[in-house]
């Protein structure tokens, strides 16, 4: 490609964009004086008379300004207070965003609200699965017993999110082992369980995963998941290559019709060659 001509074309594009109606006349977020901009945004966010769209836009702008780090630091305390203020507000989207930003920060108030919602569904501010996910940001919270209860009764995505949270608790190892081996279990649950077990007890995972990989009667996606996890786990732990496992994987890779298993097998074998 001729670089000079490329430049010419590109400069023409820039010139065209500069004169087009699409160009935003507004100064970029953060270029203006934050001492003026931020209080206005906070006021909009907390003003319940403002349209939801305006309040949500204000929240998004504030969250983006937070990425300015030290420049936004003078406003952070007020910002967090504003988030707490709107965390129980009526527009669901607004409170969900506020709760998420607080939960990411492991805010105790947000955690209390989310726990309350799990204990009393009529008090729930966000859907059950989302509440569990947000509580999962803090593995030092005391939510695991509650999440275990939720796991027992929940279905669908909420159950999966509960399992993710339980993957931080070594006491869950037996649960993950049982779920991973259970062919009648939902496949997404089994895949999650593979990841969970590997994290909690890599040696126990390896033992179970090898059997799954070699089992022609198990589902292809589960076998592929197990194989991929074995490859990555071995590399990360720098464990020696097991010739028997390599042989098994070679046989499986050659005999399977499943693309995902073949690909995972190839990846596993490549990792043993490095």
């Amino acid at each position: 490609m001729d670089v000079a001509k490329y430049r010419e074309r590109y400069e023409a594009q820039l010139a065209k964009a500069a004169t087009s109606a699409e160009e935003s006349a507004a100064a970029p977020l953060g270029e203006q004086n934050l001492e003026e901009q931020v209080p206005d945004l906070l006021a909009t966010l907390q003003n319940r008379e403002e349209p939801v769209a305006s309040r949500t836009a204000a929240l998004e702008a504030l969250a983006a300004l937070d990425f300015l780090g030290p420049r936004f630091a003078p406003f952070r305390a007020r910002y967090k207070e504003a988030l707490r203020d709107v965390a129980t507000d009526q527009p669901q989207e607004l409170r969900a965003q506020a709760l998420e930003l607080l939960a990411i920060d492991k805010d105790p108030y947000a955690q209390e609200l989310l726990v309350q919602g799990l204990q009393e569904p009529t008090d729930a501010l966000v859907p059950e699965a989302q509440a569990i996910q947000l509580l999962g940001y803090d593995d030092h919270a005391e939510v695991v017993p509650l999440v275990r209860e939720v796991y027992e009764r929940a279905t669908g995505v909420a159950r999966e999110e509960a399992l993710r949270v339980l993957a931080t608790d070594p006491e869950s190892e037996q649960l993950f082992t049982r779920l991973l081996k259970d062919k009648s279990e939902k496949r997404s649950i089994r895949q999650l369980s593979a990841s969970g077990l590997q994290s909690l007890n890599p040696e126990a995972f390896d033992e179970t995963a090898r059997k799954i990989v070699a089992d022609d009667d198990d589902y292809n996606d589960i076998r592929a998941t197990a194989l991929a996890a074995l490859a990555h786990g071995r590399e990360a732990r720098e464990t020696p290559v097991d010739p028997k496992l390599v042989e098994t994987v070679q046989k499986v890779g050659e005999s399977t019709r499943s693309r995902s298993i073949r690909s995972a097998a190839r990846r596993f074998l490549q990792s043993t060659e490095q």
């Binding site: 780090g69 030290p70 420049r71 630091a73 003078p74 406003f75 952070r76 305390a77 007020r78 967090k80 207070e81 707490r84 203020d85 492991k106 805010d107 105790p108 108030y109 955690q111 209390e112 803090d138 593995d139 030092h140 919270a141 005391e142 939510v143 695991v144 017993p145 931080t168 608790d169 070594p170 006491e171 909690l200 007890n201 890599p202 990360a236 732990r237």
Partner: protein, 371 residues
């Protein structure tokens, strides 16, 4: 949690309650068992703030200084700042630690309230953690003068990160310190936490601990005795999911440095860390954590976990650690020095230990063997 808060409220109303309040600060207190970190921190902050009116007794001072030195939770640190206002005498370290806390929290200020326990939006006149720290500094008067230069440097270099309210409070603090009469400069950080003059030997429990099964970062299994007997040992405690980088991450980084210093000085000593979180911190995790912090593993330098419960270790060394439903909820820094016969000859707790002090303790422990 609210039961604990109610107890604190009750104590606040009683005279001479300071000692009982201090009792609520011990990490291993059964009151905290099974609680999450946020809860434990909130109770601690609430208790600490109570000393402003209850008076801060001498035995409460280490908890306050620890928080100012290492704390990263604005609520608890603000509580410590308030506690200091109840101290009859200002600890020598306090002014510098207040400035350090302001620097550490400068990007993470938050509204705090100690009038009621329940978290939530502030009702009126919100005050932030940095404001509380600045006000305490201003209130120390001449005793805080040694921290003036450091405070000035901080405001000059980081002034843009403070809100107008905090900026004004810091200006007030600087004025208060500048106007104070000069006092003899005190050292920034005095020696702290060194164990009593009398070595504490492991009683009958020594044999239990000696036989305790451990596993290191390479998956090698050995007993406590096999790991540590025959050489002096610097042993600290940590866990990989510690949320405060000033604690475990920094501790293991410094442990690695200590190991290098021992080698450089030709001191044949063990340098090791044992995780509080044995079930989660399996060998691969220990290895990664240590490697990331420049630990050069060897049979003298390890990170380990217990193969059974951690309780015997905690009990033997009286470690300051509490556990929630899944993992640690709160812990203090703890480092013990053992002599070759596994007798505890020095104990550093709660504050950052000085490498030179630990090296001296190891040399002294080695001398015990030589004698």
């Amino acid at each position: 949690m609210h039961d604990l808060a109610a107890r604190v409220d009750e104590l606040r109303r009683q005279p001479d309650s300071a000692r009982e309040l201090v009792g609520m600060l011990f990490e291993q207190s059964p009151s905290y068992a099974g609680r999450g970190t946020n809860e434990a921190e909130r109770v601690r902050g609430y208790v600490l703030a109570s000393f402003e009116t209850a008076g801060l007794p001498p035995e409460g001072v280490p908890f306050v200084l620890e928080e100012l030195e290492l704390g990263n939770n604005p609520y608890t640190v603000a509580g410590a700042a308030r506690a200091l206002r109840g101290a009859p005498d200002v600890p020598a370290d306090a002014p510098a630690l207040l400035v350090r806390a302001i620097e550490r929290l400068r990007g993470a200020d938050d509204v705090v309230s100690f009038d009621r326990f329940t978290p939530g939006p502030a009702r009126a006149n919100p005050v932030t953690a940095l404001t509380e720290l600045a006000r305490t500094l201003a209130g120390l008067g001449p005793d805080a003068r040694p921290a003036l230069d450091e405070l000035r440097r901080l405001v000059e270099s980081e002034g843009g990160t403070f809100s107008p309210v905090v900026t004004a409070e810091l200006a007030t603090a600087m004025n208060a310190l500048e106007g104070a009469r000069a006092t003899p400069a005190a050292g920034c950080c005095s020696e702290h936490g060194i164990g009593g003059a009398t070595p504490v030997s492991l009683p009958g429990a020594a044999s239990e601990i000696a036989a305790l099964a451990l596993e290191d970062q390479d998956g090698s299994r050995l007993s406590f005795f096999e790991a540590f007997a025959g050489r002096p040992t610097a042993l600290t405690f940590f866990y990989t999911r510690c949320q405060n980088p000033e604690k475990c991450s920094l501790t293991v980084t410094r442990l690695a440095r200590l190991a290098r210093s021992c080698e450089a000085q030709g001191l044949d000593a063990n340098v090791a860390g044992i995780t509080y979180d044995a079930a989660f911190d399996r060998p691969a995790r220990l290895r990664g954590y240590g490697a990331d912090r420049a630990m050069a593993f060897s049979d003298r330098c390890r990170l380990l976990r217990t193969l059974g419960p951690f309780d015997p270790i905690q009990a033997t060394f009286d470690l300051g650690v509490g556990f929630g439903p899944v993992t640690v909820n709160r812990h203090r820094l703890d480092l013990v020095v053992l002599d070759p016969a596994l007798t505890v000859t020095a104990q550093f707790e709660r504050r950052l230990w000085r490498e030179t002090a630990v090296l001296d303790a190891l040399l002294a422990a080695a001398d015990v063997q030589a004698r």
